[in-house]
Symmetry: C2
Subunit: 262 residues, 2 copies
DNA sequence: TAGTGGTCTAGACCACGTG
DNA sequence: ACGTGGTCTAGACCACTAT
């Protein structure tokens, strides 16, 4: 579907032989960046859905009227950004939150021995309300716009370890109910991606150590005042649009937050 | 210096026309990976020192007897790993811990308003002792091998915010004294790099929330039991050899640890 | 003007996965 | 055997920096 969105290419004069002309464009954008943009559009529009294969490099090169090498460089960057996944001999696929390591990418909690333990989610509530000022600001909404609030606990080895408080734009997540959440097995982000077409691309976290407030302490089964890791995350989708605010409290006895500086 | 370390290249048969022969090598390593290895060797051996310019791509291509494109791909990866820095029109340079953003790369503490504030270091002590078992294990030393231990405080806006306890291999850091540390202005890693030829390439951190122990609390000017961010870092140099263990306690009131998941 | 990194192309061959 | 991504080459031209 969608016959011809091709060839917004070759806007800067350099084609191998001599297309000549075209001013040295004061705002220079490499061809492969333009191709990258076109591919991103197709991802965002849903032309290629998560888990699906995208056209081969030669096919895309034909569609965009550029060389394979140029398409290649565009895909290289998108793969580095975790939007695409290359598989030699098979093809290039749209990334998914269902992949093995995608889980750990957004929840970097490891046991003291360094092992990555599985966890289960206990949903506490899911309700719709008007966005508090701070949440509205972070989600780039107007104050009092509708939002969905989810509360849940995560248990590692049957030990309650994480309390999450999640806010989502109400308009983008219609029909999201506690039942719906309970039915679904697997990562939240996989559900968001599959059911609401919203894919988290990147996230930014602010991490602090805080004393557990009574309400939080009780849910986590620790004493009030117990030191907790406070993780405030804002997640972004295509176009760097914020679509989730998540406030987490982690009990870091027996588990730690793993971070690699590279 | 060092005339001919060239052309460990072309071990796999693919040269454009027809060099023929050479078995489909069961252990296949791309040419550009081999070049990357050779460049890394030159960095490690000190042939090109931090801050210096390395030979141009065409020059390296000539030295290694490969095409410029192959050298280019090798350098691309090294630049992505922060070992090299490319500057269009000027050349490619060996990365340094003195660059503007290099600081934030290893100390991601921001003020509540998101601003990156400067800090000053107050050195408490620097002594040599035998490695405790745990430190020896992490530094890949034998138990009771000599190590250097440094303690220091970091103040942000005149507020004591961080206590660091640093362990280094004694053999690698001879002549490192409190005086030496006090003389030096700037990041520790810059000193290590300039004075001891040890460059930190990457680091891995384990982050927890802990209650301040009395001794730590006093140094940081908080009450005992106050929630602190515990950051246990192991830093690695070339060849993924561990060369520093750093245990930090951060007061996260007014400041937070910034982390980006991408 | 000359040199460096950055982009783009076209074509060849290799390694991997599937028929 | 075929198609896909992965590597390598050679050559052209562009953008930036210095002289």
């Amino acid at each position: 579907m969608n016959a011809n969105q091709a060839s917004a290419a070759n806007m800067n004069g350099q084609s191998g032989e001599g297309t000549a002309a075209s001013a040295p464009s004061p705002t220079f954008s490499p061809l492969y960046q333009q191709i990258k943009g076109l591919i991103t559009q197709s991802l965002e529009s849903g032309e290629w859905k998560p888990g699906e294969i995208i056209p081969s490099e030669v096919e895309l090169a034909g569609r965009y009227k550029v060389s394979q090498g140029t398409v290649r460089k565009a895909i290289d960057e998108l793969a580095a950004e975790n939007l695409l996944v290359r598989r030699q001999g098979k093809g290039t696929f749209v990334a998914t939150h269902n992949e093995d390591r995608a889980q750990f990418r957004f929840l970097r909690l490891l046991a003291d021995d360094g092992a990555e333990h599985p966890h289960i989610s206990k949903l506490l509530e899911c309700r719709r309300l008007r966005a508090p000022a701070e949440i509205a600001r972070q989600l780039d909404l107007k104050p009092a716009d509708p939002v969905v609030q989810i509360k849940r606990l995560l248990q590692f080895d049957s030990v309650t370890t994480v309390l999450d408080e999640i806010w989502l734009p109400g308009a983008m997540f219609r029909g999201l109910t506690l039942e719906r959440l309970n039915e679904y097995k697997g990562p939240l982000y996989a559900l968001f991606e599959a059911e609401f077409g919203t894919r988290m691309i990147r996230a930014s976290e602010k991490i602090r150590a805080v004393a557990a407030e009574p309400a939080v302490a009780e849910l986590l089964g620790v004493a009030a005042g117990f030191p907790l890791l406070s993780v405030e995350r804002v997640s972004y989708t295509y176009g760097d649009r914020p679509v989730e605010v998540r406030r987490g409290w982690y009990v870091t006895t027996g588990y730690y937050y793993q971070n690699d500086l590279s």
